[in-house]
């Protein structure tokens, strides 16, 4: 029994920790050595991993699909773009995360009273509302776009983004193992049964929603430094939310491997095809999505499990 527990601790705690650190080292080290083009690819990959893992803390565990995570990303980017001249970056990145988390906490309370497809539509509508409200504000301020001068270079940003991806991966993994995560899974499986068996469902959903917005806020802040250019429509684009969900469907959101696989698959496909034939990329993307939904609803990570059995 004792060795059983030790083996379980090894499998659940030590191994994921080592794998994540190894992956992060590979992504950063590989990016540094391979030159500027691959640095950008590695940065993009790390960005998506960080975003999908965070999304999965809420949507993967509770089953509530959020189409609003672009807002968290956008708020982080907005904070960076507007305050870059006045505050150091190491303050603004965590502050971007805090702002996104706080915003999610406030909207979660009314939004999470709603279940099922209505929830999905509401998160999307809310994201659009925030986008156009900010657009109006920026127009009124006479700042239709903002430029950031003197942002750190790609290698620095890559290091930060890889750290965020690793943090999001570990967070997703360990939340999934925790009592909190078990409660979120119970909500996904049957919310009424969960609350009847003692899970404080509302509190858990609100906390998970807020937690899942923090790292995307930080990612947005870093990406504002990367593009050195801020425009509301681009940064709050629903495409970000859709891409997160697409990658999560393809990779699977039942564990922390899925988002990594999904991001690898899509970033890889996009690098292969986007330059040569953007239409083909989008067609293939659509076909993949349909194929996965129909034949592998648990994504690539689900396929791995099935092979093992």
């Amino acid at each position: 029994m004792a060795t059983d527990r030790n083996r379980q601790a090894m499998r659940r705690i030590l191994l994921p920790l080592l794998l994540t650190l190894a992956g992060a080292a590979l992504l950063y080290g590989g990016g540094l050595r391979a030159g500027p083009y691959w640095q950008v690819v590695a940065l993009t990959l790390a960005m998506w991993i960080a975003l999908i893992q965070s999304w999965s803390i809420f949507s993967g565990l509770t089953g509530y699909v959020s189409l609003g995570h672009a807002v968290a990303y956008g708020l982080g980017a907005y904070l960076m773009a507007t305050q870059f001249r006045d505050y150091p970056v190491w303050v603004l990145i965590p502050a971007g995360g805090a702002l996104a988390g706080l915003f999610a906490l406030i909207v979660a309370i009314p939004v999470l009273r709603i279940r099922g497809p209505y929830f999905v539509i509401l998160t999307f509508g809310l994201a659009e509302l925030v986008k156009f409200a900010l657009l109006r504000l920026e127009t009124a301020l006479g700042a239709s776009s903002r430029l950031l001068f003197g942002a750190p270079g790609t290698t620095t940003l890559l290091a930060w983004m890889v750290a965020l991806a690793a943090a999001a991966t570990l967070l997703r993994h360990f939340v999934g193992l925790s009592r909190f995560g078990r409660g979120l899974i119970a909500i996904r499986e049957d919310e009424t049964a969960a609350e009847t068996l003692g899970v404080p469902v509302t509190r858990f959903k609100v906390l998970a929603f807020a937690l899942s917005a923090v790292i995307p806020g930080m990612v947005g802040a870093v990406m504002a430094l990367r593009s050195t250019y801020f425009e509301v429509l681009q940064v709050f684009s629903p495409t970000i939310s859709f891409t997160i969900v697409t990658m999560a469907i393809i990779g699977g959101s039942g564990d922390a491997r899925g988002p990594v696989l999904g991001a690898l698959f899509l970033v890889g496909l996009s690098e292969l095809l986007r330059g040569a034939s953007p239409q083909l990329y989008l067609i293939l993307l659509g076909l993949c999505l349909i194929a996965f939904v129909l034949f592998a609803p648990n994504g690539l990570s689900g396929l791995l499990d099935r092979r093992r059995k």
Binding site: R179, E195, L197
Partner: protein, 249 residues
């Protein structure tokens, strides 16, 4: 001692009165049967006691404290567990994870992993689920799902167990097994049980007292023998006797 006291409880859905000023006392340690035709209000009463629904008026007291304004998870931690007539397993999880989740959230004190393993093992044994711990709940038979529903409720460490038709759809042998299991469970855990059942023989065998609901109203309460002889109950279930109709316009 009265463990559960329901006082003038009413529930109105739109124009329908599902419960009409029902009052009921459950004594500590008894098995109390609840019967009535479909639509009598039995499940609504359960849902209100367990906090899944709010009453339109009236109160519920458990172990002396008022609970009708609490959330389901709070009521669960006070010591009331319910099962669902239409079973609600965590379908994608194993039997063990189903029970462990209930244990992690329903119990008021945190148990060590070792204590949890031991308790899960003994509960699965009591409910006849020994060999099925690693099976995914969605792959279970109806009978096993009903037993899982009971096992999960037990794992929350309740004082009062609300059982909603745990025997419906079972074969006669399975019913016999379930009755034996419930009696065992009641003694082992020192439980009080309120049970809804359509299988009359089962209800008569198990219950110390029976309450009958009809169209939202409480029409009879007493020992199984009293209930069997009660003319109002017979009328509610079978309509009036032909002989009484003679001579009426």
């Amino acid at each position: 001692m009265t463990l559960l006291k329901v006082d003038k409880l009413s529930k109105i859905f739109g124009g329908l009165t599902a419960l009409d000023a029902v009052s009921l006392s459950i004594e500590d340690g008894e098995i109390h049967g609840l019967m009535g035709a479909n639509g009598a209000g039995k499940t609504t009463l359960f849902s209100i006691i367990a906090g899944n629904q709010r009453p339109s008026s009236g109160t519920v007291h458990f172990a002396g404290a008022r609970i009708d304004r609490l959330r389901p998870d709070q009521i669960c931690r006070k010591g009331i567990a319910r099962t669902f007539q239409i079973v609600r397993p965590f379908a994608g999880l194993t039997v063990r994870d189903n029970v462990e989740t209930a244990m992690l959230f329903g119990q008021t004190e945190a148990l060590s992993p070792r204590e949890r393993d031991r308790l899960i093992g003994s509960i699965l044994g009591e409910c006849g689920l020994d060999g099925l711990a690693d099976r995914v709940a969605s792959s279970l038979t109806l009978s096993a799902r009903k037993r899982l529903e009971v096992a999960r409720a037990l794992a929350t460490g309740p004082r009062l167990l609300l059982l909603d038709e745990v025997m419906a759809g079972l074969t006669p042998t399975e019913v016999t097994d379930m009755i034996a299991a419930l009696k065992r469970v009641k003694d082992n855990h020192g439980l009080t049980i309120l049970i809804i059942e359509h299988v009359m023989s089962a209800l008569n065998q198990m219950s110390d007292r029976i309450t009958v609901l009809h169209r939202g109203q409480l029409i009879a309460e007493g020992t199984p023998e009293d209930i069997a002889r009660n003319p109002q109950v017979a009328e509610a279930y079978f309509g009036v006797d032909d002989s009484e109709l003679e001579g009426r316009p």
